[in-house]
Symmetry: C2
Subunit: 331 residues, 2 copies
Amino acid sequence: MDKPVEKPHEAIAALLADDLGAVNALIRERMASRHAPRIPEVTAHLVEAGGKRIRPMLTLAAARLCGYDGPYHIHLAATVEFIHTATLLHDDVVDESAQRRGRPTANLLWDNKSSVLVGDYLFARAFQLMVEPGNLRVLSILSDAAATIAEGEVLQLSAAQDLKTTEETYLQVIRGKTAALFSAATEAGGEIAGASPAQVRALFDYGDALGIAFQMADDLLDWTGKTDSTGKNVGDDFRERKLTLPLIRAVAAADDEERAFWTRTIEKGRQNDEDLATARELLDRHGALGSTRETALDWADRAKSALTHLPDHDLTAHLSDLADYVVERLR
Amino acid sequence: MDKPVEKPHEAIAALLADDLGAVNALIRERMASRHAPRIPEVTAHLVEAGGKRIRPMLTLAAARLCGYDGPYHIHLAATVEFIHTATLLHDDVVDESAQRRGRPTANLLWDNKSSVLVGDYLFARAFQLMVEPGNLRVLSILSDAAATIAEGEVLQLSAAQDLKTTEETYLQVIRGKTAALFSAATEAGGEIAGASPAQVRALFDYGDALGIAFQMADDLLDWTGKTDSTGKNVGDDFRERKLTLPLIRAVAAADDEERAFWTRTIEKGRQNDEDLATARELLDRHGALGSTRETALDWADRAKSALTHLPDHDLTAHLSDLADYVVERLR
């Protein structure tokens, strides 16, 4: 049988197999709790369930392609994955309560409690891990990222259902919820390797642009009919009244009648069965889907451009392919 | 008019008035969010509402009585208050959902979202603040405390309603939920001041014992009839089926009939109006209230003993009074 064509993240994982093994071992070790066995129970399905480990891989790749030969990229990669897992647990609480429109079950609430507290535990474990390399610059990068993530999540909450949301606010939200951890992952990897300021900057730019492209692609796919990488259904953002880039652009171009439609469906939340199809038509009418696609592809190109400032290395080529891969679904 | 007798924390606040002013200014500065104005809205009532600032005061006092003359005890005191505020926000989510027994309002859930995310923001801001002094030992102390706090909260969740809960587990829970931040506050203050290992150890022991005495007193007052410092009502722990020290001791001494009562009311949660009075009788019968009081007073004495290893200073005397003060309500 022919071997199927390797995806870029699989190629990176193959090159970094030993490092990734060490990261997984460290994650299992630090996820444990001597006193509270519920902690590994709650996290196991998230940490063990074979996610693609994109974020820790970015840290490992950044450190390696800058020539790092020490042990601490492993700690930083595990840190990044812990922060990611903690935010997933807390997102569950925030998003599930939205989906159920104020009518959760007691069982859901029990899960919420564990999700909140176990998420806090993973945040704390992440901070313990990031202290161990003893690199203050890395500590700033990662603690700044944690603040940007939380700020972006709160901003998303207050921007929801608000037709005045601008493209600038949208960019801030997705930088927070997605790109900040990507860029901190790559930047911290370069910093621990002692890369030059220009290289560290390029690594930040790559992670930032990659994260933005990735999230924009997800937000576009929420409108264009395939189930996206997070397993959401088409139209979820419309039903949850989230203002993502396609919608923001359609609202900006809306005439009076269209604006009344958006006010009813998004601001007031009065939606009926035909509204999703109408919304989709309005987006098409103003070219909002096509232009969002162009913007996402542009961010992927920016990610690739950033890589030109980095050492020539197998990993660099695969990171370039990864930028193409996150928007490939849009082509 | 005669000036009323000063309480120990008021005496400490008076001695540290300039430092506390600087802490409050730093808290206001760092609580702000350029991008998400909801953050200061949510935190304002917690941070501004004139709590006693016991925890940051412990950090300031520890640093000062060890002769510290630099600027960074302010950052660490603000860190400690941010961690405290973040845990309060998350406790709200966990405790409110319990009180309403699975029937929260949409409004409550909206608050829950903000509480989870703004709590995360404050945790991240706390970590940014603690990085600034550039002291790795302090970073270990505070990130370890954050993990112990979260672990204690999860342990409390899984120990609830479990009649097999031991005194050892109870001590672990209250160390996590209360004492860990007290002891990290004093230890970090000593460490930033460059105190000797013996002094740092004594500061840890003081904070640890003070926190344990404080929490035990609260848990006892939940049974003995006065509203406690957190504004809970008498019997709340019984109704919420929380196993605190008095109950653990009564269960350990229970005969078969008493055990059946505890199994029904605590494990199965079938309670009627007379049960609180019966429970209180069973606690009295086995001397569980008196013995818990003795244990709490003993921890206050341990806190005072730890202070004998520290420099003679006005602050040391007031810290000793503070240990008496947290259990004074029991005398």
